[in-house]
């Protein structure tokens, strides 16, 4: 294992003969996880410097207490002065989130274990957000929202984003939509804190420089009563992204590139820290996209250091005090990956795995039958803005396939209908979408990202004509068999630019075809 320290910007580490797009090798990663966690990747691609193994810091006293961001957050939350990866600690929870799918189960466990009349540990630290199966006639799904409502009334839960009138989402002033976006928009994500949620994409909140991860019903039931959870401190993988982001690349391309590089288990039990000038140039929603798919690499949590972009976003959203933390200069990372983003090309993840990476342009012969733009990953305001910008740049060509749009939250829906799109002469996203023939933006929720009840809008159901397969380009986060409904449906994960471009051609399409 090399013990070289990483000094200045690693221009010297990029093999010069590999520079240039043609050297990029997007062959799908092997699924097998390297047995030795510190093995060095043999694959060298033009956008990435050779993986660095663990750095050996100098053995001074201050170094012994050096910690990564994740270690610091967990140390503070467990009232320890120092933590190392592998330690099991009791951590105070700042926010517990649950939704309509896992909430009832968690509540059931809470009541069974703590008592039918037990009270939650803190009525202001639990945020309950119905979002998964909302606009459906499924009786059990509707009953589950009722269960949440009864519990919130009984416990006087402060933050319950309720919906009662399913026929008109706007008639529900409290209803938000997709939980991870709602948490951010309502100011529940704060630097330095610990946020747990009964959803794998809880890691999205790491974009705010906090520790955020998904837990199951039993753990959540425990937190409801105790306000604490036993967690093992993860080691950190560091991803350094530098270089100016090309204007056809979005955060979704960045994370698909990373997952393709390290595989769906490459970050299992680990923290993923995203730093570098490219990351600093991202707005909050793009940072959320980056952290959102950490779980697709098996990661425990993702973090982006808080900075002025973060503070500005939070200004009008929360008045609670917070204290950001940052990795020490000499903190130890398990591995470090360096990327020159200026060389990155638009990426897709082919069926049926998020690490089945390919260049969008290599898939240009793949005929598709639909496009889906939505979810916590790709249904935020910035995601719709990006899609709209591409449609404008194309000269308002008409889409060739059904293009489903599902804004993540009420606020996103409002933005889609009110914010002007740059370069369009003052048009809103909704006007542009209508002009090019997209479906009308739907009621905000998780929608078809995970299939759901059979009457879910845009769900991939049994194809009516055989042997026609269903092929979708989607801005969502997973494409395992059956993810969006029918088991044989094929899902290409992509950025909003790539999704919009594909809608215009009816094939998987590199957005540069329209943006350059």
């Amino acid at each position: 294992m090399a013990s070289s320290t990483i000094a200045s910007p690693s221009a010297s580490f990029i093999p010069t003969k590999e520079l240039g797009r043609s050297a990029f090798s997007p062959a799908s990663s092997p699924f097998s996880v390297p047995k030795c966690r510190k093995s060095i990747s043999k694959k060298i691609v033009s956008v990435m410097a050779p993986q660095q193994s663990e750095r050996k810091p100098a053995a001074t006293g201050s170094v012994k207490t050096a910690m990564t961001m994740t270690e610091k957050i967990l140390a503070r939350a467990s009232e320890k002065t120092h933590l190392s990866p592998g330690e099991n600690v009791w951590v105070d929870v700042d926010i517990l989130m649950t939704h309509d799918v896992c909430g009832p189960g968690s509540i059931g466990i809470f009541k069974k274990e703590f008592g039918q009349n037990a009270k939650v540990w803190d009525r202001e630290k639990i945020v309950i957000i119905p979002d998964h199966y909302i606009f459906t006639n499924d009786e059990r799904a509707n009953r589950n929202v009722d269960i949440l409502r009864d519990f919130c009334a009984e416990q006087n839960i402060k933050y319950f984003y309720d919906i009662q009138d399913r026929g008109n989402f706007k008639a529900n002033p409290d209803y938000k939509g997709v939980c991870h976006i709602a948490l951010a928009q309502e100011g529940h994500c704060r630097p330095g804190e610990v946020l747990l949620g009964t959803d794998s994409h809880t890691c999205t909140a790491g974009a705010f420089g906090q520790f955020a991860t998904g837990i199951g019903n039993t753990d959540a039931g425990f937190v409801m009563g105790a306000g604490k959870l036993l967690l093992k401190v993860p080691p950190t993988l560091r991803f350094v992204m530098d270089g100016e982001m090309p204007d056809y690349i979005l955060a979704k391309d960045l994370i698909l590139q990373i997952i393709g590089e390290i595989s769906v288990a490459g970050a299992t039990y680990k923290s993923m820290e995203f730093v570098g000038s490219t990351v600093e140039s991202l707005n909050m929603e793009e940072r959320m996209t980056l952290c959102n798919m950490v779980v697709e690499a098996g990661g425990k949590n993702g973090v982006v250091p808080a900075d002025s972009t973060t503070f500005k976003y939070l200004e009008d959203k929360t008045s609670l005090p917070y204290e950001p933390v940052y990795s020490d200069q000499q903190a130890r990372f398990l591995s470090e990956y360096r990327f020159d983003i200026s060389k990155l090309e638009p990426i897709v993840a082919k069926p049926h795995s998020p690490d089945n990476r390919a260049l969008a342009r290599e898939c240009k012969d793949v005929k598709i039958d639909r496009v889906y733009i939505g979810s916590c990953t790709g249904g935020k305001t910035e995601d719709f803005m990006a899609a709209a910008k591409l449609f404008v740049a194309s000269g308002y060509k008409k889409v060739k396939v059904p293009t489903f749009l599902v804004p993540a939250t009420q606020k996103v829906w409002m933005d889609v209908y009110s914010l002007p799109v740059p370069g369009s002469g003052g048009k809103t996203c909704s006007q542009i979408f209508e002009e090019v023939g997209c479906d009308t933006p739907a009621s905000p929720s998780c929608g078809a990202c995970l299939g759901g009840p059979k009457d879910t809008y845009a769900r991939m159901n049994e194809p009516k004509l055989r042997p026609l397969l269903q092929v979708c380009v989607s801005t969502t986060n997973r494409n395992f068999p059956g993810r969006m409904g029918h088991k044989e449906g094929e899902i290409y994960l992509a950025s909003p630019y790539t999704a919009a471009a594909s809608a215009l051609t009816g094939y998987v399409t590199d957005p540069r075809d329209f943006l350059q």
């Binding site: 699924f31 097998s32 996880v33 467990s78 320890k80 330690e87 600690v89 009791w90 799918v101 896992c102 009832p104 189960g105 509540i107 059931g108 466990i109 069974k112 274990e113 703590f114 008592g115 009349n117 037990a118 009270k119 939650v120 540990w121 803190d122 998964h132 499924d138 059990r140 799904a141 589950n144 959803d199 794998s200 809880t202 998904g214 837990i215 199951g216 019903n217 039993t218 753990d219 425990f222 009563g225 105790a226 306000g227 604490k228 036993l230 769906v264 288990a265 299992t268 098996g298 995970l450 299939g451 759901g452 009840p453 997973r478 395992f480 068999p481 059956g482 993810r483 088991k487 044989e488």
Partner: protein
Amino acid sequence: MAVSYSSSLSSFAAAAFSETKASIAPASSQAVRFASISSARPFIAPLTSNSTVLRNRRASFVTPRAAAESHSSPTSFHGLCYVVGDNIDTDQIIPAEYLTLVPSNPAEYEKLGSYALIGLPASYEKRFIEPNETKTKYSIVIGGENFGCGSSREHAPVALGAAGVAAVVAQSYARIFFRNSVATGEVYPLESEVRVCEECRTGDVITIELGESRLINHTTGKEYKLQPIGDAGPVIEAGGIFAYARKTGMIPQSA
């Protein structure tokens, strides 16, 4: 059934969990008081080879050996295995459309079990549960890498347990699935050292000797070493994290 613990475990329980100081003070009088746990002690005591553990759970294929002495009397599982591949994600284990079923509701718990692994593609010709059945005849699932990846849904290990699975043997696990398996006590998430999924076929007769960390395939006559279940063992044995916490005196017996 009598359960006796190794000396290290019982002294750990006594010393660490005396209820002299509550580390949290919830508002309600109904709240559970937790003894404070010092940083140096792990939540779960190390499972020593001398501990005596008897299972008293529901799976029909579990055959606990008679506990003749105070030394080890390991649990064993015996039954048919069902073999799957790598990266079996939670959508294949329990598709999202069934997540409206609430696991803490007993009737819906059983229903969840009937849908276990229904999301596997058609290339799996032998189905995990026969149509018109609600339980599986395969008490052991054998997988490859990254079993249980995808969602944090606890419905995944619950569905397997409710269907009648006693143990999963995989090369590696996704972390939330592993954690949920232990917390619920629904299935033992065992790890193999080699690709057992390539050496076994669905329907092979298997014995797992938990205490010896050994898997025997009676149909092929081959044996494989497993990673010891370690700290997770007693938690699953007790029936999950709450039951374990009560058993070891971490929280009072429930009312």
